[in-house]
Each structure stands twice: as structure tokens, then as C-alpha cells.
Symmetry: C2
Subunit: 467 residues, 2 copies
């Protein structure tokens, strides 16, 4: 490209890249020896994501010292950029009055997320440092389920009374331009007594209106609004069906409580999908590698210890058939294969059910329909996989009967696996258990036991042909 | 709640819920016997998501007939609501002129997604039915990587010349109010010759301006703009750092090409996270259960067949130690446990690396740092899990040496698993292979082989204590 480009803000490549560890060392040095201004300028000089990485690399003490010495606005910007687990720890470790000052610089929904994630005593100490009215509001906001309109809404809304004129509205907006700019609003709301929502005002409609028109005349009446308890699945559906950037949230008596933006719903959707992935992989609570080693080990063991116990239970089925195994030792080669392949088939069915649930294509009560659809695929795939493994078994042991035993066992267990796998997300979801977390261990335990039982049970019945 | 609520649009509970299959039957009946208006009204009467579900349940022939009989706008709305795999099939199955008419009703980025996903001959046939200028634009748009600014941008932007006055701008907006309303815009762009981006105009600033001011006077000069090839990770970072709802996208010579919205980036982020989850679970291509059984079976087998071969390779290690197994049959109980637990530990490390990559906390080249952090956790967890399984082994076989063998094997293999698991996403990503898809099979094959080798190799060395 030959001609000058409009300014792009992404990584200015005019200074040498430093690793997060190097930046953290410089930052740590500054925390100990530099002035407040030096610190502030250093943070300002870094890209926001670089600053966040460097802060993650700091020791807990240095991080606290750094945040105490920055002005609350800058500390708040920094904490919004670091991973949430890190921000929660920092807010808990800071003196409550510092945390309160930093929190008050954040958007309301971010404040609420952090307060909700804190231990109760830490949250109480911070709330005690705030103005009581604000503290009560924040406590209320933090009490909503994060996957509902209440948990996702921001309370910063622009509301006018019905009889306000365009002139008055514009005057108020001009007088408060800084705040309006920061809110990045497209809509204002029109409210009656008791903050009851009665209309919505598109800012661009103000462009086309006379100065003397009132909000009541310009507003769209009976605006679409969602109840504060609307779950995220319905919010997602709502924004799929409506080209809105935000929707007002109302509580009892139609009282305007806040606004949920499309961006907030999409972001939560993304973070829930990422959580599903992590949990399916056995990362129960978010881990980042700058956490202390012992904590990381403990977080991972919480999952591994459950799994090893379930594994021992499943393997106990093998122990019950030890004499068969002694006579047909070749079976030992096939036990891990049958265990792993059944897990694979079952996991596919889990993932398809999770997807259909999130797309709203199935309801938890449609178990029967799901089973019908899975049974056919399970039989086809069971035949294919069974035939393949049967051929390997025949060739390996030089005995067609051993091939038959492993073929039938894997084929039948594939059907079992898809039936269980497909239904687990529906059953767990209906019971309020996270299906991404619990489906895997339950599935593999059941399919392992069933698979071991099938192959060793069949082998025992056919022992005279195998030994 | 006692007082009337503002209208909420979510499921009107005033008619009995019907299953998607019942709705599809009614719809299928209407496709065969009803008039075009009946069909259109029936679709209108359904909630968008209900309509989408019912359409998925229709046979391919009925779906094509339905879409042919609706007006293009309604058919387009319907196709935007169904899962993308279903929409792609429908667009491919319809006569090209019908598909072209339906596509032209969609937003530009949706059109491009569908065209990019079609087989080349299907796409060409549809493009041939469009106005050549539009077809070339669409083809260009479809050629961008979906995870870049070009793939995510919409080309519908509002642009004015520098010397346009507020009066002219407002006049143009009033004259074209319908279109502006549909775009739901907050910003307009100011361009010079050759559509070179020179400024951005906030619509709300028009509120505060004189009629005679020009776009050039009101605009923010040297606006932030991103190159058309900016990858999604940088877009994500950009919107984290800036409170914008959208950012203009420019090509060579600063030419304004479109705008990427925060919502588009968040939605793509969510759909990528969901795809990672599905792929990690072995669902390589999206499957929904209304697809033909044979196709579903084939999609799943494409993954399972690779895995069964890898499993056979891994299990061949067991075959090499058959005489050891014959003498210490108890080991057969522990092989599946060691295989499964190593997979669990490795998967955790994969997920933590995937997370850190997406948070921008690690770069693919930081392998050494990741290994250092994993080695310590691997040793701790290896000790814990090894001790646990060792105790089970001792108790089960009544032989402390057998306990020692399984303890050492699982402990060492845990370290191997976290080292491999943590590095796979970094290595695969650097090579352009999808880490969510490929990490699992590579990890489990290597850890299975290594685990089997460790436990059976150790047992062979210590055979005199075990047999």
C-alpha cells in the first residue's frame, strides 16, 4: 500500500516486543521505587492487553501495591482487562475502601459480576464503604442470576418524563454531553410515575422533530420490554428475532430497571460456550497459568480425583472376569479400545444434544424423539465400527470367534453409548445440573462398565471357541 | 404482578404448544394443498424459532416447494433463522434464480457466508442470476476469511462527501428514512475521492449542529479504521479496548469497504467457541438430527474411523507385552484406567492452553514457559494420582510391587500428558491446524502408547516380584 492509511490502533510496531515477564519485572521495579506518576505513565504507555498480561505476572503483593497507587479510574480500566478470576482476587486483596473506589468507576453490570463472585464477607466489607443507596442497588443487582436479564442488564439508562419537550431533552443532553457520550446510547426511555416504562424514544427521531414536541408525542408507545427474570436463551432468541441493539428490562409493576444490550447477551453466550468447552475438558474452575502452582494442582485434582474413582469402579467389572482374561489374554488388547471408542461415540451424541438444546431445536422432554434418531445412527455406526474391530480381532488372534466377540461388544456398546450420550444433556439440564460438566464422567463410567461386561461376558459364554 | 405490563414478545401462551413435528405436518399439508397466502400467513403466525424448527422437520422436497412459494423477503427471513447447515442445503437445492432472489434480501455478510459455504458450481449458478456488479461484489466478499474483518464486515454503510451540509444530510436521511431505520446506524462515514475514508460522523452530533455546517467540519478526522485482513483475535481485542459499536474497514489506499460491528465479532466469537466444543467432542461438521440418517452416520464415522485406527495403533503396544500380561493378569484391570486418566490430565492442559491463547495470555512461541508451568503441576498431580492408584493396585493384587508399578506408570504418564496436552494447541495453531479438532486424538494416542509402555515395561523389569 503506497498511500497513507487512516490511523490503525493495533500494535504499534515501533518499539521492541517485550515478554509479559519482562514487562512485569519493569513494573515491579517501578512499584517499589518509582513515583505514582511514573507508574501511571508506564501503564498508559502499554497496550491495554499488554498491561493486563504484565499485571497477571506480578506477585500478589506487587499487584495490590500497584492498584493502590493508581487513581481509581485507571485501576478500574486495568481490572476490566485482566481475566475475571484475577480481578476477583485483586478486589478481595485490596483494602475495602480502595476496592469500593475502583468498583464505582466500572459499569454497573461489571460491578455486580465482581461483587457476586466475591466471598460474602469481602463483598460486605466493600459495600460498607459505599454510599448506602448505591450499596443496596449494587447488592440487588449482584443477586440476579447472571444468565438472566437482571444479571446482564446495565442500570445506566437515559429516561425522560412524558411531558418533556424536545427542547428540554436536547438541553439536558447538551448540559450532560460527557455522560451521554460515555453511555453510547441509541435509545432513551419515557417513564411515568414510579418509573413505570411507557415509551421508547429513538434518538434519531429527535433529529426529525420540532422543538416543542413532547417525549410523549414522539415516543413509541407500549414498548417491547422484557421481565428481569427472562433467561438468556430467551434473550438470545429475542435478539435473533428483532434487529434491536438493546431492550429495556422491567420489574414488578412495569418499573424500568435497566437495559440489556445485544452485545451483553452475545458476550455472555460466548463466555458460556467457552465455559462448556473447558468443563467438558475437565477444567471445572477457570485456571490461568500465573496462578500459584498449588492452587492450580488443587483445581485440577478436584476433577481428576472424581474421575479416578469412577474409573476404578468401571474397571472392577474387568476384575470380575479375571479367569476368562487369563484364558484369552488377547482380550486385554481390546478392552481399552472398546472403552475409548464408546466414549468417542457417546461424546458425539452429547455434543449434538448440547447444540440442539442451545439452538432451541429440542426440549428436555423430547427424550423419545432423540432416542429414535440416535438408535438408527448408533446401529449403523455400531455395525461399521464392530466390523472393523472384528476384522482386527480375527487377524490378531487368528480366531474368527474372537473377532465376533469384540465386533458384537463394540457394536452393541456403540448403540448404548449414543443412547446415553444423547439423553444425558436433556436429563441433566432438566435437573439443573450443568450438562457440559457432568455428561462426560457419567457417560464414560456407564459405557466402560457396559463395554467391559459385554466383551468379557460374551467371551465367557464362548470360552470353548476362544481358548 | 397486578398491574398491566408493557407488551412482552416472548412466547404468547394463548395457543396450545405443538411439537415441531406436528407443525411440520400441518405445513407440509399446506404446501401441497393450500394457496400461497395461506402458506405465508401460517409462517407469519408462528414464532420465528418455531417456524425454523418446523422447516427443519420438513422433507427436502417440501422445504424447497415452501421456499419457492413464499415471497423472497419471507423466505430470506426464514433461512436466516434456521441452522446454517440447513440454509446452505436449501439454497443449493432451490432453482438458482429463486436462491439469488432470496439471497438478495439478506444482509451482505449473511449472503457472503452462504455463498462461501456452497459448492463452487452451486455458487456460480446463483451468482449468474444476479446483476453482474452485485455478483462480483458478493464473490469478493465471500472470498474473505470468515475470521477476518473482511469476512465479518457488512458493506451496508452510510457515507457522505466532506462538503455535504447538515441540511443536505438530513434531507437525504428523511428521504430515505426506511433504509436508514433498517440499518440501525449510529455512525456515518465521510469519504473523499475514490471512497477514501477521511472522517466519521456521529449521528448524535448532528443533533447539536447548525444546518449549514458541513460533514467535513463536524467529522472526527483521521478516524480509527482497521484493515480488511485484521484477524478476529485483534478485532476482539480492539472492541475490548474501545467502547465502539462498530469500526470502519478499509482496503488498499484507505478505501472504505464496510463496517465491522461489535455484535458481529461477538457472534462469531460465540460460534467459534461452540465449534471448538463440538470439535473437541468429535463432531467435525455440524449435525442436526433432522438430517438424513445416512449423512449423520457418515459425518460421525469420519471422526470415529480415524480414532479407531489410532486406538488400534496404541493398543498394539499391549500386544507386544503379551507374555508379561499372561503372568500378571491383574495388570489388565489397570490399563484402561491409566489410559483414561492420562487423557483426562492431558485434556485439562489442552483446555488451559486454548483459553490462554484466546485471552492472548500466551503466544505460540512460548512453549518453554508453558512447559515449566505444566511440569510442576504435572509432578504434583502425578504424585497424587499415582499414590491413589498405587494403593488400589496393592490392595487389589495383595502385592505392594504391583502397586508401585501402576503408581510410577500413572505418575510419570501424568507428567507426559500435561506436557503434550499443554503444547499441542500452541504447536497446532502455529501450523494452521485447528487445535480443538486435532489435539484430542493426537494426545490420547501418544499418552496411551506411553502409558501402556510404562506400566507393561516396568512390570516386565520387575516380573520376578510380580508373578
Amino acid at each position: 500500500m503506497d498511500t497513507p492509511q487512516p490511523e490503525t490502533t493495533l500494535p504499534p510496531e515501533d518499539r521492541p516486543a517485550e515478554s509479559a515477564e519482562q514487562l512485569a519485572e519493569e513494573l515491579s521495579e517501578l512499584v517499589r521505587t518509582g513515583g505514582d506518576d511514573d507508574l501511571s505513565q508506564y501503564i498508559e504507555w502499554l497496550e491495554p492487553r499488554e498491561a493486563a498480561r504484565a499485571v497477571c505476572e506480578l506477585s500478589d503483593e506487587d499487584e495490590v501495591r500497584l492498584l493502590e497507587r493508581l487513581v481509581p479510574q485507571q485501576a478500574s480500566d486495568l481490572l476490566i482487562d485482566v481475566p475475571e478470576v484475577e480481578a476477583i482476587e485483586a478486589v478481595a486483596a485490596l483494602p475495602p475502601e480502595t476496592s469500593a473506589a475502583i468498583l464505582q468507576q466500572m459499569p454497573s453490570n461489571k460491578q455486580a459480576d465482581l461483587v457476586a463472585a466475591l466471598a460474602e464477607e469481602d463483598a460486605d466489607a466493600i459495600l460498607a464503604e459505599m454510599n448506602p443507596t448505591e450499596a443496596i442497588k449494587l447488592q440487588q443487582l449482584a443477586s440476579y442470576d447472571p444468565d438472566t436479564a437482571g444479571g446482564l442488564m446495565q442500570t445506566e439508562v437515559v429516561a425522560f418524563r412524558e411531558n418533556s419537550t424536545v427542547e428540554q431533552i436536547l438541553e439536558r443532553m447538551r448540559g450532560d454531553a460527557g455522560r451521554f457520550r460515555q453511555l453510547d446510547i441509541q435509545y432513551a426511555y419515557v417513564v411515568a410515575r414510579g418509573r413505570k416504562l411507557v415509551g421508547v424514544l429513538r434518538l434519531r427521531d429527535l433529529l426529525l422533530a420540532d422543538d416543542t414536541a413532547t417525549a410523549g408525542e414522539l415516543m413509541i408507545e407500549d414498548p417491547i420490554a422484557l421481565d428481569v427474570e427472562t433467561p438468556i436463551a430467551e434473550l438470545d432468541e429475542f435478539f435473533d428475532d428483532h434487529a434491536f441493539l438493546g431492550v429495556p428490562v422491567v420489574g414488578a409493576e412495569g418499573r424500568l430497571l435497566g437495559v440489556v444490550t445485544r452485545a451483553a447477551v452475545d458476550e455472555q453466550g460466548q463466555s458460556n460456550a467457552e465455559r462448556d468447552y473447558r468443563r467438558a475438558m475437565g477444567v471445572v474452575q477457570e485456571e490461568i497459568r500465573t496462578m500459584p502452582t498449588l492452587k492450580r494442582s488443587r483445581l485440577r485434582l478436584s476433577w481428576l480425583s472424581v474421575n479416578i474413582l469412577l474409573n476404578v469402579v468401571a474397571a472392577s467389572v474387568i476384575a470380575g472376569f479375571q479367569s476368562t482374561l487369563e484364558q484369552v489374554i488377547a482380550l486385554a488388547v481390546f478392552l481399552p479400545i472398546i472403552s475409548d471408542m464408546s466414549g468417542c461415540s457417546g461424546n458425539q451424541a452429547v455434543a449434538v444434544s448440547m447444540r440442539e438444546l442451545s439452538l432451541g431445536l429440542i426440549e428436555p422432554r423430547e427424550l423419545w424423539r432423540v432416542w429414535r434418531k440416535e438408535a438408527t445412527v448408533g446401529v449403523l455406526n455400531g455395525l461399521a465400527l464392530g466390523a472393523l474391530l472384528g476384522a482386527v480381532g480375527w487377524w490378531y488372534a487368528g480366531n474368527p470367534w474372537l473377532g465376533l466377540v469384540v465386533a458384537v461388544a463394540l457394536g452393541a456398546n456403540t448403540v448404548v453409548a449414543v443412547l446415553i450420550g444423547s439423553s444425558l444433556p436433556l436429563i441433566l439440564k432438566a435437573r439443573g445440573v450443568d450438562p457440559a460438566l457432568a455428561s462426560g464422567p457419567i457417560l464414560t463410567t456407564v459405557t466402560d462398565m457396559c463395554g467391559f461386561f459385554l466383551v468379557l461376558g460374551l467371551a465367557t459364554l464362548m470360552l470353548s471357541y476362544l481358548a
